[in-house]
Structure formats: C-alpha cells, structure tokens
Amino acid sequence: MMRCPPFSYRAPTTVDEAVRILAGEGPRAMLLAGGTDLVPNMKRRQQTPPVLVSLRRVAGLREVTADGASVTVGAGLTLAQLAAHPLLRPWTAFGRAADSVATPHIRNAGTLGGNLCLDTRCNYYDQNYEWRKAIDFCMKRGEGGDGWAMRNDAPQGSVCWVAPGSKRCWAVSSTDSAPALIALGAEVTLCSTAGKRTIPLADLYRDDGIDYLAKRPDELLSEVRLGDPSGWRSTYWKLRRREAFDFPVLSVAAAVKLASDGTVLDARLVFGAVASHPVVALAAQKLVGARLTDEAIDAVAAEASKHAKPLDNTDFSLGWRKRVAKAYVAGALRELRGDDPSLLGPHARRAAALRPF
C-alpha cells in the first residue's frame, strides 16, 4: 500500500498557538485540518512537510455566527456540517457547492478552510511519485502558494507538460466552495502573529498553478464572512463525470439580485476548474438593468464562456468542456430566473438534486 512520509505532529489548542508554531517553523510546516487533500498528496510525495500543525483541537474554528443578516463561518467546519447548516440556507450556491464535494466520507472530514486552500490539480501532477518519475516530473513542486517546503532532495521537473512551451504551471483550481463563495461576495480572515487581515475571497487566489494562494505561509485562514443575502438568488452547477467522488472539471457559480419586477440589480458569475484560479466573468454585469430573458441570458452565456479556457489536464476533453461552459451559464441563469430544473436537462437536474433551490 501507499505510505505517508515521516513527519512530526503538533496539536495546538488555540489560533494564537497555531500561528506561533507556523511563525516558528516557517515554510516547513503545513496545516492539517480534515487531511482529505493533504494526506493523499503526502502519500504521493507531492508534499512532504516535516511538520504538520493539526487544527483538530483548535477552539473557535467551528462556529457559524449570525450578525444581523450576515454570517461568519468558521473555517474548521466540515463540508457536511456546512451543507446541512440551517443558518446558511439563504446562500444556496454555497450549500450546493459544499454538498457536491467528493463523497459523504470526505465531506465528514474535509473542512471549509481545506477546500478553499485545496491544492491545484492536474493529471500530470496528481499521480504517484513513481508515475511522475516516468515523466521526469513537472514544474509544479509540491509547494503551495505560501511557500510550503519540500525536502531539499525532492526531485523537481522543469516542464509544464500541459503546455510544454509555457513558462508557468497550468494546474487547475478545483475547489467547489471558492467559486460559490466568490459569487456570493464572501470575505476571508487570515490570522498570523502579526494580527488579522480580512480580504475579499477573490483576492485569495492567484493565476498560477504553483503559487496559487495569496495567503502567506505563516497565515491561518480562520473564517469566511457572508453579507446580507436579501434579494439574491444563487446556484452552483458542477460538471463532473460522476455524481460522487469527482472534482469539478467545470463549475459555474451564479448569483443575481433581482428587483421585485424581475429587473437584475446585480449579477455575478464565477467559473471554477477552468484555470488556476476561480475566474470571475465580468460579462455578468451586462445583465444589470435587464431582465433574465432568453436573449439576455444567451448573450451573456456566450460572452462569459469565453473566460473558460480549459486545458487538457483534467477529465474530459478541453473542447467539450469549453462547449459545455456556455450551456452551464445559460442553464444556471435560467434556473435563477425560476425555470423548472427538471425541464432544463441533465445538468440542471444534477445541480438541483444536491439541494433544492
């Protein structure tokens, strides 16, 4: 069987203690929450951190607190807890995204913070050490955006096999919760020994398959804040081969704020799994002031889907994924308009089955 590399295990009980350990250990330490992403990566030797800082005993990371119409969500809550949480129901896209991750077992262990910081994925990278040896590795080290360290002797390739002429890594942002939360205008709080800072979630991500997070190595993502949902409707459509296990190969998070007469007051569209970061499609703004007519929807879908530039490093072919992007945007917006999902084809049914709109 596959075995983990050796590591030492730290188990702080407060956020302050955790960030002090991070500050002291530097990039050789990695945070361990549910472990559903990190532990398989360690077995594959994508990451071999000498120190794991477990968040299991850290208090205060597993609460949802309401503050007027907005909520603050602890990053240590499991995806299963989020999907079932009554206070989070108004943010449909978020609940659906959380509910769509992997399998029930993984949702019972995997956390919000872990899903937001999920390592970028690529068919050339998410392979055993032995397999990667056969392609002379690739340029993506097992190093996250905050400079997580590899062993010094860890081999490193120089080519991005997805685009061998490219100087950068094209691994794919595969988090489900991030596109949904960005579409919902979420902010995240990062803690370190230097204090706290709160940034828009969209700013947490960088367009680089290796250096994909703007979070510093000494920072801990502690909570997510969601604003007033009044007037907003949102949905999350996830393309994957199977209705369990699979990471997204395309996802569309859509949120619209509608006036009582159906006029769009605000709109956001975010793609997941089409680039190294969640991609905000500004074309959504063209809906503002209009109604969600077929013409308006199809025009925005055509323009927004140009943002989706998938590469050949996930399941399914890239041409087909690109084609589906347009259908997904159009379908998601029709669902938000109030169309019956059961009449919108298989993808709508799959989205709606996760959680009633």
């Binding site: 397999w131 392609i135 199977r242």
Partner: protein, 832 residues
C-alpha cells in the same frame, strides 16, 4: 442426463444468502493482505520509469545497505521465464535485460517495514538505454525494429490467425447487400476492489507456502514450480478469497514469484500488497481492438456470410493473448446462423501493460461490432432489429460454421422477455420527453461459454475435482481447488453437495483453492466453475449417497431405491416417518464401509472443431443474453443518461437466484462502465521532449468507473430451460450478461438522436462530434492494410466438412477422448 433434472429440488432454485455471506459482511473474511506472520518482511518493487529500454546495469549496493533492508533481488535472481500459456513463456519476475513498459519490475527490496522497503527503492540505480517507444497497434505494424520480443509471428506482431469456413468471397458476391463497418473498442481494466497481495513463507519442513489473491492457484502452482525450479510437491499455493477478480488475477504474476523467491532466500515470511497504480500495471485487462465487419445479407435480412478482421493491441507481454486473439472471432457464430465465415485476427506487442482476459475475454469487442452492425442492417432493410435476430437464431443441438456445438439456446425467449418488458414494439422511436433530452431504445444479444472446453496447457485430465469427507459427526467437508473470487463458487459447491445429500448448505464445510488439500480445479476463469465443479460435486455427493443408502436400507429394511435424502434425514419415500437423521445415516454408512470419502470429477466433452485453433471457443454449453436499454441524450452537450436496462439471461437453471441476479446486475454494472467511461488511456509526451508513454490515470479517482449514482434500474429476467450438461441444468452467468449491454446502449443512442457511435466508450464528446459529422457517425475510418497468413480452410458442416482443415498440417493420431466416438462416456452413469 445431469443429476437432479427429474427430481424435486430442495436447495436448488431457492433464493438464499450465500454460505460465505456472513464472513464477508461482517468483515471477517481474511483476504491476502489481512494475513500476517511472525517475523514477516515486506516487499516493494522498483518498476521501470521508461516504456522501452535495455538495462545496461543495476547497482543495488546503496539499497542493500539501507536501514531495515534484508534483501535486494534483480532479474539475475529470477532468470527462468514463465507465462500463463505454454506458447507465451515471455515474462520474468524481474526484468533481465529489457524493460517493456512503464511499470515493468526491475528490482525488489525486502525490508523489515514497508516504509523502509519503499525508501530503499530510490537508492537503486538502473542504467537504461532507451529504445523506440511503440504506443499502439498501428505503430507496432509499422515498426518492425526494435522488436519488443524476439518471438512471435513477425516483428512486433505476436500472433496472426486466419480461417475460412467456406467460400466467403463467393457468398458475399451473391449477397443482396453487403455492409462494411469498422469499429473500435478501447481497452479497459478489471478494477477489483482488492489490490493483488501475496504472502510467502517457508514451512518448518522447508517447503514453500504461498497465499495469494489469485483466481488460478493451480496455474500459479505450475508457474512457481517452473520459475523457482522447485518440485511441485514442495510448493503449496493457497488462494485467499479474492476481493474481485474479473480475470485480473488469473495470470501468474511477477510479485508472486518475487515474494516466494525472497522467502526462500531469507527463510522468513515475505509479503507484498500492491498499490492501486501497480494493479493497473499488472493489468491483463480488455484488449483495445480495431475491427472490420463485412456482412452479406439477403433482402429479408438473413446473413449469408460474415468476414471479420480484428487487430488487438496486446501490450508488452503474451499473457492469454493468443487465446484472446482467437476469442475475438470464435464466438461470433453461436448466436445467428452464419453459413460462411471468415475470421482473421492479429495481436501486436506495444510498450504498455499487458492485456489479457477480462470478463467476456476477447468477445465483448466483436460482439459490440456485430450487434451494432446488425442494428444498422435492420434499419437499412426496414426490419425490426428484434425480428431480424429472432428469424435467424442458431438451432439447438447444432454445429456452427466453425464447428462450435450449440446444445440448448434460450436466446429467443430472452429476446421475447426484454422486448415485452421494455415495451419495445410500442415505444421504440416514439418516446417523447419534455426535459430537452432525446430518448431511445436499443437492443442487442450475446453468448458466452460455460467453461472453456480445453485447459490452458494440454492434458487429458479432469478439469475439476471434488472430494468429500463424511464422518460419524454427520459433518460433510467438500474439498475443491476452485477459487472464491466473489462470484459465489463456495456457495455453488455447498449447494450441489447439500442438494444431493439432503442437508442444509450451511452445514457443509468448504475447503477450496489449496493445492495441498484440494483436488485440482483449473480456476475461476472462463465461467467454468459452476458447470465443471458443480458436476464434479454432484458426482462426489452421489457416490457418497450411494455408500450410505445401502447401510440405511439395511437398517430400515426398505429398498435403497426408495430412500429419500432431504431435510437432514434419510427416509422411505413411501413412509416418510420411517427414517433416521442424517448423522445416524452417516454412522451406518461408516459402520458398513469404514471411513467415508468420495471423489467426483469433470471433463468437458470433446469438441467437433478439429482444426488448429479450434480449441478456443468450444464449451459444454453456451449461455445467451439479450438486453434492451433506454437512454436519454442531451442534444446540447451530448450528455447520456441510462434510464433503464432490461436484461434476460439464459441461465439454464438458477441454482441460487439471489446470486444469479447479483451476477447479472454486476455484469450490467461493469458493462455500463465500459460502455460510457472506462478507458485504459495512455499519455504519450511530445516525442521531441520525451519518450514517455504512461497510463493516463492509474487511480480509482481518475480512471472513471460508475458509482451507484450512475447505476440505472435493472430489470432482470432469468430464462430457465435446464441444459442437460449443466449441474441441475445450470449454465454460466458470471460473464455473459455483460456482453449485450455495450451494443444495446450504442443502438439506443442511435434510436434517440440518430447518430452512430462505432467506438467504445461512448462519451458526450463523441456524440457532439457525430452530430456535427456529415455521416452522423463517430468511429474509426479504416482498418489498416496488412498481410495475412494463408487461411486455414475448413468446410462448414453443411458443405461436407468434418471439422478439419483441408490445408492443415497433419496431426499425430491419438486416442479417442471421452464423449468421442470410440471413447469412454463423458461421466460414469450415476445411479439414482
């Protein structure tokens, strides 16, 4: 006449939990990886990182000195070649001087812990000289050098075969219509839940014991005997219950030989449990097959001749490949009347994990092509596809053009069942839906063996043996070399014995798959166990009954012929009160005869196919299946949903209907995976930058196989027309029900949106491409030009043939075999 077909059955046909069910669901079944022994060492294997290279040297010194390392083995330690087929002894436990695919093992480290063994692998330095990478069959045909193997029919062609059963060109020239189609069926793998694992240990008396997750302990025993150069009597192979096999554990494997060798060298127990990635490298899965069918028909749809060419991508080693090649042609004739038939097959070597037998072994690929082409013919001629098939089914008790003997055929009833169940006549082409998806129905049929007629290596011995021990406790122990791989063979063994002796199956103790303790059974492959082991078990049990009956008769004072064995009693059929318990009956038997033990054995009847190559395809009896599938297809994205599957299987008799239905549904499940998503796809890196050729996704996450969410409702119809050659009339069910699903699905896609996908798997992208194509089709365009050997010419039975080839080399005369004219009967007559 097989036992029991004319008497009341008490156990057979009763839905019942399986005898090994409790252990399985409570987690108490001990699989190979569950075994540990004191002082056990762990083994990891270093595998080639290059697809094709010469090994110039291996330096193991640093690894041997690493912490915890007890032994490092290389090819020099295991120099004797082996392989499952006598004609393909082309494997070495560790590569000698050449690696042939990424994953080919070159060295093994044996250490105190698995972690230490793993760490030491990186300390082994292998000096490789890279060779040209051969990625697929067409490249293999075009690349005579370098040769992947020095043996084989030519260059990188492993095997070429050609047969003419009658003058096919003449028949095609005289046909009203000739349909020519090229199909491709991508390779895929077995994906058992349990990874292969093996434990080897030296007994106190110096003998070797090997516990392994193998479907074929007997063949493993033979391979170990050869590769280790040890007497067979000094090796004991115990097949642990397999956590799924599907053909993927039916070769002898390098890791089995390596841990056995390591145990011999160290004197300590040595275990290996493969990673999932390594299971993909063991492979022996479905061959990728390119096929061309030319079928001539009359205007009424009746077939006048079929010409089939197949090209198999065999991967890096022989495995069962020669048999696989024959199987891509030999079973095409047993469903519909084909008066004349030409079959030519070619298997190439390529730098990928070796292909071999997977559920359906070599037959799902041409079955897909044939059934899709028949659908096209039906549409072109305006005939209902079900009717087209029904009007030309092979007759029972007949020979086909290639001398396959068909006994009973329940296919017509299978078709009637799925046609009626699915509403085929009313609904085909007329299903309306309001959800934006196009719906359609497709139908296809198939046939499969109930056990291969011949063993892997030539011998005239029983193919299955069962031994019974009975004693004064009333206990019955059944011993058989058969292997429980999840299919329910232990249950069939208990059931057959229990039915004859009249005791509950749960009271029978089962000992299987142990070469020291159990009589030889060739293994769990080719759907042979129920029929062969079942008949052997019936014979052994009947003999035991016949020992006990006279003792009971004497005690009760009734004629032995009036005794009934049922409900754990033996009693007078005319006065049921007059009898005794089973235990008392055994005591009387033991008193009369001394210690009680019986044996039974089974050997299939001789085939009518006497030409070279005719050994592949014959079976005691064929099973048949028919399926109708309803699909919904999204026009915008090509997304496919399987709405429902109706499947009927000609089982002869369902011994335990719970398990029978389970096998049918399991076959449908596996087939849907093949039809829609599973692919042994490979990545070739840009050749200018790298020679790498790697399995694209050797993991259970990225090698896509359906989950319960993708599994549609399945309505199963068991067609029970007992076959006299099967135990209580039973035929196989383990493989056949997989076969009609892929073509039925392709035909349903056509019915839904009018495109033909002549390639497996059928993916949304292919549907979109077909919708955009002028000919509304997606699939291969041509079969490569290639030379074929002179065909063996065998006249069909109705053209005066006798099963021999007119241009075959003469064979040595030999003695008549059982079942042949002049030979002994198939089985001794059994007294009722």
């Amino acid at each position: 006449m097989a036992e029991g077909s004319d008497r009341k059955l008490n156990v057979v046909g009763v839905p019942r939990r399986r005898v090994d069910g409790r252990a399985k669901v409570t987690g108490q079944t001990r699989f190979a990886d569950d075994l540990t022994l004191p002082r056990m060492l762990h083994c990891k294997m270093l595998r080639s990182r290059l697809p094709h290279a010469r090994i110039r040297g291996i330096d193991t010194a640093r690894a041997a000195a690493a912490p915890g390392v007890r032994l490092v083995l290389t090819g020099a330690d295991t120099p004797i070649p082996y392989g499952i087929l006598p004609v393909s002894q082309d494997e070495h436990a560790l590569c000698l001087d050449r690696v042939r695919f990424v994953g080919d093992p070159v060295a093994a480290v044996i250490a105190d812990s698995e972690e230490q063994a793993l760490a030491a692998l990186d300390l082994i330095a292998v000096d490789y000289e890279p060779l040209t990478t051969i990625a697929d069959s067409e490249q293999a045909l075009a690349t005579p050098e370098p040769r992947i193997h020095e043996y084989g029919d030519e260059a990188n062609v492993h095997k070429k075969v050609a047969f003419d059963f009658g003058d096919v060109d003449e028949a095609l020239a005289g046909a009203d219509r000739v349909f020519e189609d090229v199909f491709f069926y991508e390779g895929n793998t077995h994906l058992p839940i349990e990874q292969h694992a093996t434990l080897a240990a030296i007994d106190p008396d110096g003998k070797l014991t090997v516990w392994s997750a193998t479907q074929t302990p007997h063949y493993l025993h033979r391979a170990l005997t050869k590769a280790l150069a040890l007497p067979a009597a000094h090796i004991r192979v115990i097949a642990t219950p397999n956590g799924g096999g599907f053909g993927g554990k039916s070769d002898p494997f390098n890791h089995e030989i390596v841990v056995a060798k390591a145990a011999l060298v160290t004197g300590r127990p040595v275990k290996i449990c493969l990673t999932r990635e390594e299971v993909f490298y063991c492979h022996r899965g479905r061959h990728p097959v390119l096929m061309k069918f030319r079928t001539g028909v009359k205007n009424d749809g009746s077939i006048v001749a079929v010409h089939l060419d197949t090209l198999l991508d065999g991967g890096a080693y022989g495995s069962y490949g020669v048999a696989s090649t024959f199987y891509t042609g030999q079973l095409q004739t047993v469903t519909y009347k084909i008066p004349r038939y030409r079959f030519r097959g070619c298997r190439t070597f390529t730098n990928k994990p070796p292909c071999g037998p997977k559920r359906g072994h070599g037959t799902p690929q041409p079955r897909f092509g044939q059934e899709v082409q028949l659908d096209k013919i039906a549409v072109a001629l305006g005939i209902d596809p079900a009717q087209l098939r029904l009007q030309q089914l092979v007759e029972p008790a007949s020979l086909t053009a290639n001398y396959m003997r068909v006994n009973t055929i329940g296919l017509g009833e299978c078709i009637h069942q799925v046609v009626a169940g699915s509403g085929w006549k009313e609904r085909r082409g007329k299903i309306v839906s309001n959800d934006g998806m196009a719906r359609g129905l497709g139908l296809a049929c198939s046939a499969y063996l109930s056990g291969a007629g011949l063993p892997i290596y030539w011998n005239d011995l029983p193919q299955s043996g069962v031994q019974l021990k009975l004693d004064r406790s009333g206990g019955v122990t059944a011993f058989c070399g058969a292997t429980e791989i999840g299919q329910g063979s232990d249950d069939v063994l208990a059931l057959c014995v229990a039915e004859i002796l009249g005791v509950p199956p749960f009271d029978i103790r089962i000992i299987t798959g142990d070469t020291d303790l159990t009589p030889v059974d060739l293994g769990s492959y080719s759907s042979r166990v129920t029929l062969m082991m079942g008949n052997a078990a019936i014979e052994a049990a009947t003999r035991a009954r016949d020992l006990i009956a006279p003792a009971v008769a004497k005690k009760l004072g009734v004629p032995a012929g009036r005794l009934v064995f049922a409900e754990a009693r033996v009693f007078d059929s005319e006065d049921p009160e007059r009898g005794m318990t089973w235990q008392d009956a055994v005591i009387h038997g033991e008193a009369m005869h001394g210690t009680l033990g019986t044996t039974g054995s089974y050997k299939p009847p001789m085939s009518a196919a006497k030409y070279k190559g005719g050994g592949v395809g014959p079976t005691p009896t064929y099973s048949y299946s028919a399926s109708v599938i309803e699909v919904a297809v999204d026009r915008a994205t090509g997304w496919i949903e399987v709405v429902k599957v109706w499947i009927a299987h000609d089982i002869g008799r369902a011994l335990n209907p719970v398990l029978t239905r389970g096998q049918v549904e399991g076959g449908v499940y596996m087939a849907l995976g093949e039809a829609l998503m599973e692919e042994s796809a490979f990545r070739r890196l840009p050749p200018k930058l790298s020679g790498a050729l790697v399995h694209k996704m050797p993991s259970m996450l990225e090698y896509k196989s359906p989950t319960t969410f993708e599994m549609p409702p399945v309505e199963t119809f068991l067609v029970e027309q007992p076959d006299p050659r099967g135990p209580f009339g039973a035929k196989e069910v383990g493989q056949g029900p997989l076969l009609p699903v892929m073509p039925a699905l392709a035909n349903a896609v056509f019915d839904a949106i009018g495109v033909r996908i002549d390639e497996i798997p059928i993916t949304p992208e292919k549907i979109i491409r077909a919708l955009a194509a002028k000919d509304r089709r997606y699939g291969p365009s041509k079969f490569p030009e290639m030379t074929w050997p002179e065909a063996l010419k065998v006249a069909p039975p109705w053209e005066g043939g006798d099963g021999t080839a007119s241009n075959d080399k003469p064979k040595k005369p030999r003695m008549a075999r059982p079942g042949e004219e002049g030979g002994p009967p198939i089985r001794p007559e059994v007294r009722r």
